[in-house]
């Protein structure tokens, strides 16, 4: 089975200081990986590095061009636009159309034409997650996707992840503190924390 995403000996930095090192894993089609570790361990840094938002100090991320997507709690939902407008914007940016099933999957049917600014935090989060279903990227990097969701919505998201995204040939790296009820290995980042005197990073020249 070929891997959709391969990470080899990755070392990432935050603010010029190495925070994680020796991170390696493979994800095949249909697999998810749950990242765990205490706050500040470097989950967000790792996800942003994987998504290409910040450069890695060393190591490599092997992945096809244009298949990845990144999502954090800041989901880029415009409060002045309606839910449908928000989703169709991201669909157009990715050259796709919004499938009607998305509204049912994320329980947004009644909210479709509401301005996103009038939604509750949890409802807004559901729109942000629905964006992931709209853009159709197979490799997802999700940073705390279930923040401010109630138990019902968490189950709904986990259901989509399991039955639609992973079953449909995708994979995902998810940083979360709750149990998503997805059959996936977990990766505790604590052993990968870079030593205080680890080499690399832009500070290294000055030490």
């Amino acid at each position: 089975m070929t891997a959709l995403l391969s990470v080899r000996d990755l070392r990432c930095a935050r603010g010029g200081v190495p925070v994680l090192e020796r991170v390696s894993f493979d994800l095949a089609v249909g697999q998810a990986l749950i990242l765990r570790g205490p706050n500040g361990v470097g989950k967000t840094t790792l996800l942003r590095t994987l998504a290409g938002l910040q450069p890695a100090l060393s190591g490599e991320v092997i992945c096809a061009e244009g298949v990845t997507a990144y999502a954090s709690h800041a989901d880029g939902i415009k409060t002045a636009l309606t839910v449908a407008e928000n989703l169709s914007f991201w669909a157009q940016v990715h050259d796709r159309t919004v499938p009607d099933s998305v509204y049912a999957t994320f329980d947004l049917l009644a909210l479709r034409d509401r301005a996103a600014g009038t939604l509750s935090a949890g409802q807004k989060r559901r729109v942000g997650l629905a964006r992931l279903a709209v853009i159709g990227r197979p490799v997802l990097f999700l940073d705390e996707p279930t923040v401010s969701l109630d138990a019902f919505s968490v189950a709904m998201f986990a259901g989509w992840m399991r039955d639609v995204h992973l079953a449909g040939g995708g994979c995902a790296v998810i940083a979360t503190h709750i149990d998503l009820q997805i059959d996936a290995p977990t990766l505790d980042l604590t052993p990968f924390v870079a030593a205080a005197d680890a080499d690399g990073g832009s500070d290294a020249d000055f030490l």
Binding site: A71, G76, A80, W90, Q92
Partner: protein, 218 residues
Amino acid sequence: MKALLWRDLALAVRAGGGFGLGLAFFLIVVVLVPFGVGPDRTILSAIAPGILWVAALLAALLSLDRIFALDYEDGALALLATAPVPLEGVALVKALAHWITTGLPLTLVAPLLGFFLNMDPAAYAYMFASLALGTPALSVIGSFGAALTVGLRRGGLLLSLLVLPLYVPTLIFGAEAVRRGVDQTGAAAPLMLVGAISLGCIALLPFAAAAVLRINLR
């Protein structure tokens, strides 16, 4: 790309600040000038092109910080950076949206306001032409400045400090075109130069803006 343009325009219109605010600011500056320099019609007539140009520049500056800051705060910029659209294109489209909401209406309204400042009738066509050619440069230079300061909490004042010196050549050639048009001393050269600055900025600055955005998103 087109979707981004429509979204930015829709946001500008719905947020209420878009077309109205810049124009209102422009009007207020023009109304305040006679209070400052006195109602002498010959003085007003002489300084009208300069006042309109400086007011247009300040009105363009007013809405610059909204080009990227809102998208940066709600995370949309990071999502756009990982989407299948070039960030250079995003910078250019956002500058275009800024021009449509500020530069274009300013260009259309400026001749009307010239009327209040007793502008020389010969100046109207040159005023319109120089603003039409020059305001795109203001938007593109401004979007570069906005990209530079997007990560800063209080970038507004710094943004003006960085952007205004960059506006100097555009302002000089733009206002000079009107002055020479009125004096009949050859407005073609400054008009072409102001157009050249706009074209050069449109061609090159989006790359600088995108580079700066990538650094700010790190």
